[in-house]
């Protein structure tokens, strides 16, 4: 890993269009500013990891019995015409 020493307000460039600025340092906390193209996701690693891990868990093939159980999940009620029809059908 590349390790650079920077002072407050100094900037690190990554490639041509990502800028990392050290905004403030207070005790063991560092405030960092990040300028990056919108196409590049910028996340706290723990949040990124949590979602990534859950995606991987969710990608596992489910048991058919569990899918049948899931059919009991409530369908949201919407103003959508198709759904409305379904709801009124259910009442009849």
């Amino acid at each position: 890993m590349l390790v650079l020493t920077r002072q407050v307000n100094e900037i690190i460039m990554i490639g041509d269009n990502i800028e990392i600025t050290v905004v403030a340092v207070k005790g063991d906390k560092v405030k960092i500013g990040i300028k990056a193209p919108t196409s590049i996701g910028v996340y706290r690693k723990e949040v990124y990891d949590a979602i990534r891990e859950e995606n991987i868990r969710a990608a596992a093939a489910p048991k058919e019995s569990m899918l049948d159980a899931l059919l009991k999940l409530k369908v949201p009620i919407k103003k959508d015409d198709k759904k409305k029809k379904k709801d009124s059908d259910a009442k009849v």
């Binding site: 979602i51 159980a69 899931l70 999940l73 369908v75």
Partner: protein, 148 residues
């Protein structure tokens, strides 16, 4: 477009029904194209099938069915990323994790919702910060399981 899938065998979908995920999903950044398929037995959930990987299909659902107060704030750069001209036209789905043996094991990832722009067929997984939403929200809470 013909899509080879493990669950649904070879299916044919209209090219205009394919959603592009320019960034993929977190952990699946090479997966850029998905289609939303209805569950063959019907029901409140759907499948988000990868166009590239036959075995990759996520179970997705409208979060309003089990979390009516769920609220997703789409940030400006995310609006741009999926070319959203009118926020009203977007819709949100969440990925369900269907593991384990009882319905109480079924959870929804409310922290990483998927937002779709059907006008441009662009979609993106959001990363919500500053909310209480977690990645393992039980789908069958006591209230949704036993509606009064």
């Amino acid at each position: 477009m013909k899509i080879n899938t493990t669950r649904f065998q070879l299916i044919e979908v209209d090219d205009k029904d394919v959603y592009a995920f320019p960034e993929g999903l977190l952990g699946f950044d090479q997966e850029k194209q998905f289609v939303i398929l209805n569950n063959p037995k019907g029901g409140p959930f759907m499948w988000l099938q990868s166009c590239a990987t036959p075995s990759l299909a996520f179970i997705v659902a409208d979060p309003m069915g089990f979390r009516p107060d769920y609220n997703v704030q789409i940030k400006e750069d995310e609006v741009k990323a999926i070319g959203l001209a009118n926020p009203e036209s977007a819709f949100v789905m969440v990925i369900l994790t269907v593991l384990g043996d009882t319905i109480n094991d079924i959870t929804a990832n409310l922290m990483g919702p998927l937002v779709f722009n059907p006008d441009k067929m662009l979609a993106k997984q959001l990363v919500l910060t500053g909310t209480d939403y977690g990645t393992k929200h039980p789908v069958f809470s006591e209230t949704s399981q036993n509606p009064v």
